[in-house]
Symmetry: C2
Subunit: 341 residues, 2 copies
């Protein structure tokens, strides 16, 4: 690997622990590959609300409530909620925070939000500032499509490179005390733009920032892909995953068989989602169900979780801008008495 | 003051220092009360760009570049940029981060962003995770009005309670080393909603969260208003400021003569801005010009900076939601060899 100047990774000495987690998904996601792992699968994606935006928010609230309960805690035990989402002004996160009587730190990283909130949350715990924080995000197919692309009623055909925004939410509770997988390091990504302007090819937008963050992570931590039981990107989808593999190969890094992508894995082939799942909720729900479950079972002990985001704006697109992306990552480890950094 | 359960404040032991700062404002702001303190006053609010959005971004880039230079540093000396803004998907912040080759942490708190980015940035410095970070935000009258209210071309009359979104940007450089005013504590706010649905009365939305954050701050830090040389809220404006004073009085706290509001002070009476300035850039530009200048001169030695934000969304408003707000605050002190907490 070519050595470049990187200094994007921070290390946690006091092992912020994931002591609770919860996932809520829509019916289509429930029929996908992780159906048996999700905590709640909705019967209808409107969640008995009058609008999809209200449904998205209710899913996020349900995820936060579920995660707090799974940690055997009450709302008042949580010092802060860190959250964000895809909607303008992060309304799902902000209105969710209104429901819970706790300080709110709004973060923005589009679909990289799960890793971003965990990274910042881990700093707040590790630095001794707070004892327990909730890190959450989510997305909804019907809110994202109509905000970023076309009214659903138009019934537009999706081009072959497009992905399916997941109707899904996830929340993790981080704590200074207790038991659970630890967050041992985090790498903050740079905004990276390879000149893509196709709003239906998010994989191509996100692969370059994922590469940048992974190269920085491996360099900063002096690790290589085989040091992890699982390297999991957020929602590159089938095409973006292949682009990332090839970009990394060009840099001399073979991601290998332990590399997977949540968007690629979310749906079954028969579900006709083209390049697979996307959205903040994609990686958030897979992390807070399947991945953490398999870590608790000891199937995985060291996971590199890389959430990838497209910083897509219709206004910027209309003004001729290309679409930048970003990726943040955290390392989640079963330490079993071993020390952090 | 009635004692309630608060635990929203964190304390910094290692004194993150503001070693550089810069402000950029539009022509109208330059003619206001702080004209002589701003670093750059634009001749035209399009800043020679084709759109107001591109102008807003260029102002933010100029503020970041200026702050780095004022700290006698180069871009590569900065470990991270923490930024956010009012536009959908925080495009000013994200595209600014694209320009600078540094990790980006997107934060969302609407007009509370300056305090939010300083609070999170101070954690990253104080916790020893990074050495130097840039905290920045900005806003533009013409981008905010057309996104949140009406097309400018309509020439709508503004109702008496409305404020004038400032065309302004500000950036502070935080560092673990060097000299400058220190951030000694930060209080993270809760999302607070008193049921206001009038998009032209932002002061009424922001006063309750400002009260919540101030009550928590005074309780958590065991201080009272007279312990500060200056208590400055972000952009409550003339009406919101009066509401906050009365809300606090109801709780038994007299804010007193050392309490001011950036929105209230920004413009001259003759400039016809009704309740005064607003927008992320309002408090960001006043902090990064007048306030830090007066701290360096020793006029103020302990400042409580409370940035206030309206979590306004046209989508949520159309779906019948009321408008929540949030406020975050930081204490900025001239320590002159004294210890932090």
């Amino acid at each position: 690997m070519k050595k470049e100047k990187y200094n994007q990774t921070i290390f946690f000495k006091n092992c912020p622990k994931i002591i609770g987690n919860f996932s809520v998904v829509g019916p289509k996601e429930g029929l996908g590959n992780f159906g048996e792992y999700f905590d709640v699968i909705l019967k209808s994606d409107d969640f008995n609300e009058k609008t999809y935006e209200k449904s998205e928010r209710k899913m996020l609230e349900t995820a936060v409530t579920g995660a707090i309960k799974s940690a055997k805690l009450k709302n008042e035990d949580i010092d802060m909620i860190l959250a964000g989402d895809l909607l303008n002004q992060s309304i799902s996160a902000s209105y969710t925070a209104r429901t819970f009587d706790m300080p709110y730190l709004g973060v923005f990283g589009a679909c990289s939000t799960m890793a971003e909130s965990l990274a910042v949350g881990a700093c707040l715990i590790d630095g001794g500032y707070f004892g327990r924080v909730a890190c959450a995000t989510g997305s909804h197919f019907s809110t994202a499509e109509r905000q970023f692309r076309f009214p659903l009623e138009l019934g537009n055909q999706k081009p072959p490179t497009s992905q399916w925004t997941c109707t899904a939410s996830g929340c993790s509770i981080l704590s200074s005390k207790g038991n659970g997988p630890c967050i041992t390091s985090a790498t903050f990504g740079k905004v990276t733009d390879y000149g893509i302007s196709d709003v239906n090819n998010m994989g191509a937008v996100m692969a370059p920032p994922a590469m940048n963050t992974l190269l920085s992570h491996f360099y900063d931590t002096k690790t290589k892909p085989t040091d992890y039981d699982l390297i999991v990107t957020g929602d590159l989808g089938k095409f973006g995953k292949q682009v990332l593999i090839e970009l990394m190969e060009d840099k001399g890094v073979i991601l290998g068989e332990n590399y997977v992508d949540c968007g690629d894995m979310m749906f079954k082939e028969s579900q006709d989602t083209l390049m697979g799942g996307s959205g903040c909720g994609c990686s958030a729900s897979v992390l807070n169900s399947y991945i953490l479950q398999k870590m608790k079972e000891g199937v995985y002990n060291k996971v590199l979780f890389v959430a990838t985001g497209v910083l897509l704006s219709t206004t910027a697109a209309q003004q001729g801008e290309t679409i930048p992306g970003i990726a943040h990552c955290v390392v989640i480890e079963n330490l079993r008495g071993k020390k952090c950094y």
